[in-house]
């Protein structure tokens, strides 16, 4: 017989594997915990931050000193977002801090950009529609050609599923002339015709160089973008908005946040801190007066206000009760020696995400271990012949105990398998 002991170990390992995935999962969905993070916005009227709490217990709008605001008061000091409501109520101001304002101007200047770890560690086909950016029509038209940049810039006609040789050659040659190193690592763009205009795609080549590629009147357009030394693009949000101030915003390997200006391809670094593209999420809100960058981390958040020249104007750093410091988090730290997950909010890929917090679990493990020893005494199971289950409970705690108890296979003194 193949060593039955090793099969038992496989079964034990499978049970522990499954338990370490599902037990913490069941625990957290039963004792749900939500980080109560306020939404922070910056008022150009009072030049201060306002915090919107959405939690059930402390909902409301407060400023830094704790003064509460009603919804109407809030809207009045945030005309840059609430212009529609102010217009409707007839309360729209003519000017804010001496700057004349109207609705179209505010609307034109409003934009939002987000970076989440899961979209950065995400997947795409790298295959996009090659939209004509200057068709001479008022609306963009969805093309029949799709491209993918492998060992050349391959352009495929969707009607025939065949490579369009002329276009492929034309685009590939232009890319080569600009020093593009095939294949592309990542491609960024908005593959839709529901946008104001088309700026094509921004592509990272195999040498981490950054390129702007688009289709202009059927011809290739390519521009190599000069990045500051040491700046490697990780993710780029292309913004095709009528403001035409920048092509988009990008996050770099050095955890910096940058803007790529329109037409002259200048790179502007935004003065932010506490950002890690692997774990933090970021939101950039632009309006007529300021650029507000909010960065959310596990148990803290920070907000940076930049003026239209991208100079730091004000900032706020706040703490929130993180998942691990909550009551549930503390209990789980004692209860579960480790937890395994195959999905993560930080990634779009299935993988094994092992989490070991600290050694607090050892206390519970020891209690469980003494429980098992008592159980062995009552059932007259000799300890010295059952070292493996004891060791297992010592290390894997609750998971090990459950697997030992369900397999129920202990060696007794006369080498007779104990059953039920």
């Amino acid at each position: 017989m193949m060593n039955i002991k090793s099969v038992k170990i496989i079964l034990t390992a499978s049970i522990i594997f499954i338990l370490s995935i599902y037990l913490p999962d069941i625990f957290w969905s039963t004792f749900r915990f939500r980080v109560e993070r306020p939404m922070v916005s910056y008022s150009p009227v009072i030049n201060d931050f306002l915090f919107q709490y959405s939690g059930k217990s402390n909902a409301g709008i407060k400023d830094r000193k704790g003064k509460t605001y009603t919804r109407e008061e809030y809207e009045a000091v945030m005309p840059q977002f609430n212009f529609a409501q102010l217009m409707f109520a007839g309360k729209m101001p003519d000017s804010v801090n001496g700057i004349a304002v109207d609705v179209p101007l505010m609307k034109k200047n409003l934009f939002q950009s987000r970076f989440e770890p899961s979209t950065i560690d995400g997947f795409n086909y790298m295959m996009y529609p090659l939209i004509e950016s200057q068709s001479g029509r008022v609306n963009l038209e969805y093309p029949n050609e799709f491209f993918i940049i492998k060992d050349k810039m391959e352009i495929i006609d969707s009607r025939t599923n065949k490579v369009n040789r002329d276009m492929t050659e034309a685009f590939t040659n232009v890319l080569k002339q600009h020093g593009f190193v095939f294949p592309a690592k990542k491609t960024f763009g908005n593959p839709t015709t529901r946008k104001a205009f088309d700026e094509g795609y921004f592509v990272i080549d195999n040498n981490d160089q950054f390129f702007h590629i688009k289709r202009v009147k059927g011809k290739p357009y390519c521009k190599k973008i000069d990045l500051p030394a040491g700046v490697n693009v990780v993710h780029f949000n292309v913004h095709e908005i009528v403001l035409k101030e920048f092509y988009g915003i990008f996050v770099a390997e050095n955890n910096g946040l940058y803007l790529l200006t329109y037409d002259d391809y200048k790179v502007i670094k935004l003065a932010i801190e506490e950002y890690d593209y692997r774990t933090s999420s970021i939101r950039i809100l632009g309006d007529l007066f300021n650029r507000t960058v909010s960065i959310n981390n596990e148990n803290k958040y920070s907000v940076f206000v930049l003026d239209r020249e991208y100079k730091l104007k004000d900032m706020y750093k706040g703490q929130v009760l993180g998942k691990e410091e909550s009551a549930q988090g503390k209990i789980s730290a004692y209860l579960f020696p480790f937890s395994l997950s195959i999905v993560s909010s930080k990634s779009m890929f299935v993988n094994f995400f092992l989490k070991v917090l600290d050694l607090r679990f050892l206390i519970v493990n020891m209690i469980l271990l003494s429980g098992l020893i008592v159980f062995f005494f009552i059932r007259k199971i000799p300890l010295d012949k059952n070292i493996f289950p004891l060791l297992l409970v010592c290390i894997t705690g609750i998971y090990g105990l459950i697997s030992v108890l369900v397999i129920r296979d202990f060696n007794s003194s006369n080498n007779f398998k104990l059953g039920k």
């Binding site: 496989i10 079964l11 499978s14 499954i18 997947f123 599923n161 299935v350 369900v406 059953g419």
Partner: protein, 226 residues
């Protein structure tokens, strides 16, 4: 001896197996017809847009079919063995138990893999007729865990049937559901949210390791450990 053992298994499952092949073929042909119709009624670039940019998974109907196939084959192959205690006879044949048990199991797994391979090949060929190879490889990466789920379900149906003690049967069933559920992690609500492209090798290895547990259940069965 092993050959006759396999022949015995074939006699037992053949009609059900043909039924399962038909079920799979109906679903696969249905997927092909839907895609054909999509290209007939919409512009090609609209279909491309849906698939490339909006997460239109045209083969989503396949998702639970391998699982159902694995469960049904497991039931058909192992329940009669247990109900009439026929497995006892098999384990008393003059072959090593390991060999006979693994033969029975791998025979079933191979039957399943033939069906799954046929599913994958037909859909890949049809996808390749309409789309570039990137879409074909994304189909393979997306559907691989569904096929593994079919194999895993089969493995655990066999374990649950052979295991003599009810308490361990329940434990095995729970663990089996746990493993199968993991393989559907790439489907969250309607769309495809996560992908196995970085981890599918681990899951293949896990599935292979799980095939060994049958030896323990067979051992318990023979010794009558309850």
């Amino acid at each position: 001896m092993l050959k006759s053992l396999m022949y015995k298994e074939w006699l037992k499952v053949r009609w059900s197996y043909i039924g399962l092949v038909l079920l799979n073929m109906i679903v696969v042909i249905n997927i092909c017809i839907s895609l054909f119709n999509a290209f007939k009624f919409y512009e090609a670039n609209q279909v491309y847009d849906g698939v490339l940019s909006w997460g239109y998974v045209f083969y989503i109907d396949l998702m639970y079919i391998p699982l159902a196939t694995g469960i049904l084959l497991g039931v058909v192959q192992f329940f009669p063995e247990i109900n009439s205690s026929r497995l006892k006879l098999t384990l008393h044949l003059p072959i090593k138990e390991i060999k006979s048990l693994l033969t029975i199991q791998w025979y079933g797994l191979s039957l399943l893999m033939i069906i799954f391979l046929a599913d994958a090949v037909v859909i890949s060929v049809m996808t390749f007729a309409y789309f570039p190879s990137e879409v074909v490889s994304s189909f393979l990466i997306l559907s691989l865990p569904w096929f593994l789920a079919g194999l895993t379900a089969y493995i655990f149906i066999a374990l649950v049937s052979i295991e003599p003690a009810w308490s361990r049967r329940i434990m095995l069933a729970v663990v089996g559901v746990g493993f199968v559920n993991l393989l559907f992690s790439n489907i969250i609500s309607m769309g495809v949210e996560t992908l196995f492209s970085k981890s599918y090798l681990y899951f293949i290895v896990i599935t292979l390791i799980l095939t060994l547990i049958i030896l323990l259940s067979g051992y318990n069965y023979k010794k009558g450990i309850r």
